[in-house]
Amino acid sequence: DAGITQSPRHKVTETGTPVTLRCHQTENHRYMYWYRQDPGHGLRLIHYSYGVKDTDKGEVSDGYSVSRSKTEDFLLTLESATSSQTSVYFCAIRDDRGGEKLFFGSGTQLSVL
């Protein structure tokens, strides 16, 4: 699993509250990603990072912000959660050791009521 840990695994929150999801890796890979998975939409890239403090937007970045102050941690924040952000969120890392393999975490099921 390339040492990826997502937390929390499940979260239920209310509309309008802030939410932060954490992705932690133990192998110092440079690239980290946040995707959301929804029926009919597949996996959609929210934000990705190519180094400490270096991030870029993906396909569906509105309503989300990210931060990466350390190589091992990539945080996804929903500043004011909405019901449309109910989803399964996956963190991924790109294997720096050759090839272009993405390793995914186990996902976070987020429900916004």
Binding site: G42, L43, L45, Y48, A92, R94, G99, E100, F104, S106
Partner: protein, 112 residues
């Protein structure tokens, strides 16, 4: 456009059949095309990948066919087994970046 279109949405085949999943893209800046397999409750895992300088790649029972002029690529699963039942995603990466865009997924069920 950063879109990768995948079809069908779902697929049911008998054991031993050859399911085929298709993807099409528009942006010619894509230069790497992986397929990922996802089992329920798990994150996706890389299955096989291809670059546009080859037309076919095989790894075990899995084959990617790539048609650069048509901007299409497909996954074939030979001698499919019930254990292949999963959701399959095609993806594409922009040349010079590591920004991976995924298709909408195909839910495959292989009947015993």
């Amino acid at each position: 456009q950063q879109q990768v279109k995948q079809s069908p949405q779902s697929l049911i085949v008998q054991k031993g059949g050859i399911p085929i999943i298709n993807c099409a893209y528009e942006n010619t800046a894509f230069d790497y095309f992986p397929w990922y397999q996802q089992f329920p409750g798990k994150g996706p895992a890389l299955l096989i990948a291809i670059r546009p300088d080859v037309s076919e790649k095989k790894e075990g029972r899995f084959t990617i066919s790539f048609n650069k002029s048509a901007k299409q690529f497909s996954l074939h699963i030979m001698d499919s087994q019930p254990g292949d039942s999963a959701t399959y995603f095609c993806a594409a990466n922009f040349m010079g970046t590591y920004k991976y865009i995924f298709g909408t997924g195909t839910r495959l069920k292989v009947l015993a």
